[in-house]
Structures are given as structure tokens and as C-alpha cells.
Subunit: 267 residues, 2 copies
Amino acid sequence: MFYLVGLGLGDAKDITVKGLEIVKKCDKVLLEAYTSILTVGKDALEEFYGRSLIVADRELCESNIDEVLQEANEKDIALLVVGDPLGATTHTDMLLRAQQFGVKIQIVHNASIMNAVSCCGLQLYNFGETVSIPYWTETWKPDSFFDKIVQNYSRNLHTLCLLDIKVKEPTEESLTKKVRQYMDPKFMTVKEAACQLFEIIKNKPDTGITKDSLCVGLSRVGAPEQSIALRSLDAMRRCELGAPLHSLVVPAPQLHPLELDYLAQFR
Amino acid sequence: MFYLVGLGLGDAKDITVKGLEIVKKCDKVLLEAYTSILTVGKDALEEFYGRSLIVADRELCESNIDEVLQEANEKDIALLVVGDPLGATTHTDMLLRAQQFGVKIQIVHNASIMNAVSCCGLQLYNFGETVSIPYWTETWKPDSFFDKIVQNYSRNLHTLCLLDIKVKEPTEESLTKKVRQYMDPKFMTVKEAACQLFEIIKNKPDTGITKDSLCVGLSRVGAPEQSIALRSLDAMRRCELGAPLHSLVVPAPQLHPLELDYLAQFR
């Protein structure tokens, strides 16, 4: 059996009872470590589960997963994923492969930022399409995600912006070499996201979204040290929300009174 | 302290370890019983937790919650909610009131249909605004939700349709009487939702959504006996998906190859 187990968002105890039982009984447990992170690391998880974990990086999950899946024909193997296990395309692909190998699968759902974002008081059914904001480089500054924010905004819908994370990314120099070298992991902050958005609106003046538009910055959602800030886009460029992960919401222009009341505490 | 604890979607073991610890230590634990249901009832939860639960109906949650919240100044009280605790407006309102009373609050997130719907293979970031489909009566047949489905569809986004549930609804006759009488609980099925959609498209022929458009019916998402069916809207009117809760998805017109591959197993 191949289990995909969601870990939720905060710390080790955000796993479900069902998920924990699976972790304890499996022959092998992998920890997916590149699409998201918890506020605690592998060591804290191993201590809480009372067993060792194998870190599954991008290479393993995207290119070398078949071996693991075939092993799951004979053994019980779990892959632990931060948030809900089906948030990323990689895992849907994995399930399809498992089926091709005749491997039975079970999914254990958990909270993800896609629903826990409601902790800021914005109602989930008022959110439109979710977007991802990628890190810009000197030569690559994509802004197509902004059109989706504008489309949501014009329909009076909020936009959840997932912020880029770079974990085990090969350095540019090492791409042409035999031995890969990796950059330090980095996680986009609400500050960085706001700066990129600020650059974009300079060239797109007629969208309704300006430097004075309100934004909601969120960090470590679901953890005790969760932090939420309501700021203008302009001010969000200087808003420190501490350790990762961060997310940013561009709210709809017209908010429900209850949304306004709840948001007010984060100003 | 006032705890809002999400129970997830399937059975008693879908609570998180953190949530279970809270349930065990609280002085009083209420079970919210009108916005959603698990596949198991109160008795199964009580047995698993090893303690008794107080059922919190709509009247308690919407009108008489202040007493409970004020009690939480002195005691530890938890309200258990199916899915994620912030899925419904009621609970945001409750948190605001708690703050007014100076009560400390903690939220324990969990999976909700808003993220677990990805179990059908449709990618979460391709969903637009979520809609709710209400039960029609002889004289009241609202269809404004359909315009939102069409707007999503025209932007090539999927729509999650949450289906109406009626729990502890007063009968029409008893509304004018002193003693309220209540209807049997009922939960809209994908069949019923498809029938209502079918009626709507008869009068709105140019939306792109026709009787041959594909729909995804889901029932008991997150439970072992979860069921998913891919059918034309026409055929969905005869599709039996068993016990509640049901949800319906109207997929975008153009699907990603991975979405198509994954959906194919449910045809």
C-alpha cells in the first residue's frame, strides 16, 4: 500500500490520528521536502513519531519515484507531505503511476493554506483563482499572475497568492557540470512579493489595484506563532512577518462587514 | 480558552493529534451539528474521545453562543466543527464575539471539501469561486449561482458546488406557532443538483455548458467509502452516489492532460 499523508501546516501534532497510525505501522516513511515546510524540521517529526524518516527531494519525487512505488506492492510505504497531499501536481502524477503499477493507494487529507487562509477573516467562498508569485531574476520578470489577480478583483473576489520557494535548486554554474551544487533554500516573504507587485502596478495603472490597495500578509498559518498583517501594498513592502512560510492575499474591493470587522484586528 | 477544532471529513480518526489533545483536556466540548456531517455520528465520536459531547445546533451557535463564550473566560471549552472550523461565516462571527468578551481563542485547522476536492484529480489552483446550490421549492428557484459557474467556465476554471443541507429546519406550519417542529434532515445529492442545473441550462442556452458537459460527482470525500463519478450533466441526473455528503464539480472546458488522465478512472 502507498499512503499519501498530509501533515497540515503547523508542527508535528497537526498530523491526523489516522495519519499518525499509518506513519507508525509503515515499513518505510518518506518526507517530501521541497514543495512546502512545517515550522518544525525532520528531527522534531522523527522524535514525535518515534521512527526515522527518509527525506524525499525533488529528484526522488519527480524522477525516481517508480522504485518506491513498486516497492509499495509488497510493503507499506508512506509519503508525508506538508499541507494537504494533493495540493501539488507532482502527487497526482505519483498516484497515477502507482495505479499503473497496480499499487493500492490511500490519501489522508489535512489542512492546506488553500483553506486555512480563512484565518484572516476573509471568507473562502469569496476567493477566486489562486495564483503563484515566482521569484524574479535580473532577466526574468514574469507578471502574468497579475492579470488573474485583476480578473478576481474585478469580480469582487479575493486572491490568495502562494509565494515562491526554492529548495535544492541547482546553481546556474553547476547546471553544465557533472557535480550539481545547490543554492541555499529560500522562501519568498510578503515584503518581496509586495515589492514585485509594486513594480508591476507602475506599468499597469488602470486595474483598480494601486499602491494604496489593502493587502493581507500571512506567515506560519496554523502554527502558534502565526502572524497576520493588514497593510496597503505600499506599506507591505516594509512589513516584516518573520520566519517562513509566507502568503499574501489581495482582497476584493468590496468586503463583507464581517470580513472588515475581523480584518481590523490585523491593522 | 475557546477552541475551534476542525474534525476533517471522514471519521473520528480524522481529527489532528493537537485537536484530540484539546478535546481530552477541555472542561466542556460542543459538537456543531448543522453546517456539515461526518460519516460517523456523535456516538462514535464520544466513544473515540472517551467523553460526552454537547450537540450545538443552529440556535445555540447563532443566537445563544454568548453564554458559552463567557464561560470560556474561566474554563476550557471546545467547539468541534466538521471540516475546517473557518469554512462557515458563523464561526468567524463567533471568534469576533469571543474577542469582545476578552476570551482567548485557538483554531485547529483541518481538511475541508475546499481542498480535499482535489481527490478527483482536478488541480486546486484551477478552481474559481466556489458556489452553493440551494434546494429549490415550488415557488423559489434561485439560479444566480449558475452565473458564477459560467464566469468560472469562461475563464477556464473549475467550479466546486457545495450542495444544500437542511438540518433542524423548522417546518413552515410551525413558524407561526409557539412550539417549533422540525423537518427531517436532508442533504442534497449530486442527482438533485444535476436536475436543478439541467433545468437552468434549458433557459440559458449560450453559456457553453450543455447537457453533454462533463461533471464530477463526489460523495463522502476523505472517508474509506468515498465515491467519485465522471458523467455528462444529463447522465449525472441518474447517478447514485449513496449516503451524504455530496458535492458536484463543473470542470473547466479545457483540462490539463494530467487532470484528464486522473479523471478517466471515474468514468
